[in-house]
């Protein structure tokens, strides 16, 4: 592990605990900016969807769902487009900064799902969903986490590509073509959003289950008493 670890001594009791620097500043910054961006993009996206809540023909229009206005952002289509077309740049810039940092710092090794992680996926699934024994924790991210965090980056890339195909179906006609045409690109964009939301849901459940020290590490970078250092 390349993660930096330190020992902390409590001056009063003399007790020594450990902490590791898990999340570099760039990763934490991107994470929290992205929380805001996703919130805005999903909210405004659903308001945009309200203008034509269908993936079929305009005539006759068959509405897919009437999304409540309370969960939408922007007030009306034009307002929602302001939010969407502003935060998409913040979202893309954050994505590029994250990917650039991970690649050039080598920090990606901590989280990138690799073939050697494959055998570890099933034991984690069995533990989380089928009451299986807990596999030993050896590094910051277990194989299932790596799989989730790597996949969601892929979903992020897809959200941008499908979005570009919807926004610019002429200039990026090849993108729209690859997605089965403009009409379908709009559907993929919508489905990718739900896939990202599914990730967010699972992620939040895990954060709650893993407790305070784990949560704080995404704010300060430091995780106290990580499982994988204990004897």
């Amino acid at each position: 592990m390349s993660t930096r670890a330190i020992a902390i001594e409590n001056v009063k009791t003399g007790e020594v605990t450990e902490a590791v620097y898990e999340h570099p500043f760039a990763v934490r910054l991107c994470h929290w900016v992205n929380v805001v961006s996703l919130f805005v993009l999903v909210g405004s996206g659903l308001q945009i969807f309200r203008a034509f809540p269908s993936f079929g023909a305009k005539i006759p229009q068959k509405d897919l769902l009437h999304w409540p206005k309370a969960f939408a952002l922007g007030g009306w289509l034009g307002g929602a487009l302001h939010w969407h077309l502003t935060f998409m740049w913040i979202y893309m810039a954050t994505g590029l900064l994250y990917l650039g940092y991970q690649i050039f710092s080598g920090n990606y090794k901590q989280v990138l799902f690799m073939p050697r992680d494959v055998p570890g996926v099933w034991p984690m699934v069995r533990h989380y969903f089928f009451f299986g024994p807990k596999p030993p924790v050896k590094e910051a991210y277990n194989p299932l986490q790596k799989h989730a965090y790597t996949s969601v980056i892929g979903l992020g890339v897809l959200s941008v590509l499908t979005g570009l195909a919807v926004w610019k179906p002429v200039q990026f006609s090849w993108l729209a073509w690859m997605m089965g045409g403009f009409h379908l690109a709009r559907l993929w964009h919508f489905l990718v959003m739900w896939a990202i939301l599914a990730f967010v849901f699972g992620h939040l459940v895990m954060v709650i289950l893993h407790g305070w020290n784990n949560f704080v590490s995404m704010l300060t970078g430091w995780k106290k008493d990580p499982e994988y250092l204990s004897k």
């Binding site: 670890a5 330190i6 020992a7 902390i8 001594e9 409590n10 001056v11 020594v16 450990e18 902490a19 500043f25 934490r28 910054l29 929290w32 900016v33 805001v36 805005v40 945009i48 969807f49 203008a51 034509f52 269908s54 023909a57 305009k58 005539i59 229009q61 289509l77 034009g78 307002g79 487009l81 302001h82 939010w83 077309l85 502003t86 935060f87 998409m88 740049w89 913040i90 610019k168 179906p169 002429v170 200039q171 006609s173 073509w177 403009f182 009409h183 709009r186 704080v216 704010l219 300060t220 970078g221 430091w222």
Partner: protein, 239 residues
């Protein structure tokens, strides 16, 4: 592992790391009512700027086979006011003004004397729906040539019989698929679809493709971008 640090020092390290995230709080500016509007306007303006940079004058919008056309009866009629503004088709002329050598009134016959173009292209509405229609007309670029337009001017603006108004950047106006359209589905434009003359712009969003044209102006200065633009939609909205 480094030598142990004491817990107070560790706390101050943590505080410092937490403070580094202050830039995230800057995004809270979007929640301040006074700042929200100008910030979002800047964002939309940036998107429009990027759109104009992404626009390639030689890149054609996809065209479609006749079998892929949306039936004419299912081509939506969208207006902001009335379906039929009662244009007097017999006495209609297009009034041309601005940075042109030959301003004045142009009849439909004069416009139809230019080379005719037919194309099956996609019409995309800002609401999210799209249809593939068959459009016939003359290239806007041919018409601009005929009236001796100064093509170094930045905009072409139009006004309509229903008081709708729109604007186009010159690059889009000169695009080979940008048409002054007088036919849909090989029939003269119906009143609901903008008789006698409308814009067909496969590289632009639907609200730019004004119907019932009455006035056309070539201009260096944009007085107003368009009806929907004034309500808050994008000024450029290229596809």
């Amino acid at each position: 592992m480094d030598s142990p640090v004491d817990n107070r020092k560790f706390k101050s390290i943590n505080r410092r790391e937490l403070l580094k995230l202050a830039p995230v709080v800057a995004l809270g500016a979007f929640a301040i009512p006074k700042l929200q509007k100008p910030l979002l306007k800047t964002g939309l303006g940036f998107s429009d700027w990027a759109s104009s940079k992404l626009f390639r004058s030689g890149h054609l919008a996809p065209t479609f086979a006749d079998s892929e056309l949306t039936p004419f009866s299912k081509f939506p009629i969208n207006d902001y006011d009335v379906d039929d503004p009662q244009v007097d088709l017999d006495r209609w002329t297009l009034t041309v003004s601005g940075a042109v050598q030959k301003p004045g009134e142009y009849t439909l016959a004069q416009i139809q004397a230019l080379p005719k173009v037919r194309q099956n292209t996609r019409h995309v509405c800002v609401e999210g729906w799209d249809v593939i229609g068959r459009f016939g007309g003359v290239r806007l670029s041919d018409f601009l040539k005929m009236i001796g337009a100064d093509t170094t001017a930045r905009f072409v603006t139009v006004e309509c019989a229903d008081d709708y108004y729109e604007s186009l950047d010159m690059a889009t106006a000169m695009h080979p698929q940008s048409l002054l359209c007088y036919e849909m589905y090989d029939e003269p434009l119906t009143r609901q679809h903008g008789a006698p003359l409308r814009l067909t712009l496969p590289t632009k969003i639907g609200y730019k493709q004004a119907k019932y044209l009455m006035d056309l102006k070539v201009t260096h200065v944009l007085e107003r971008a368009g009806y929907w633009e004034d309500q808050g939609y994008s000024d450029f909205y290229g596809l």
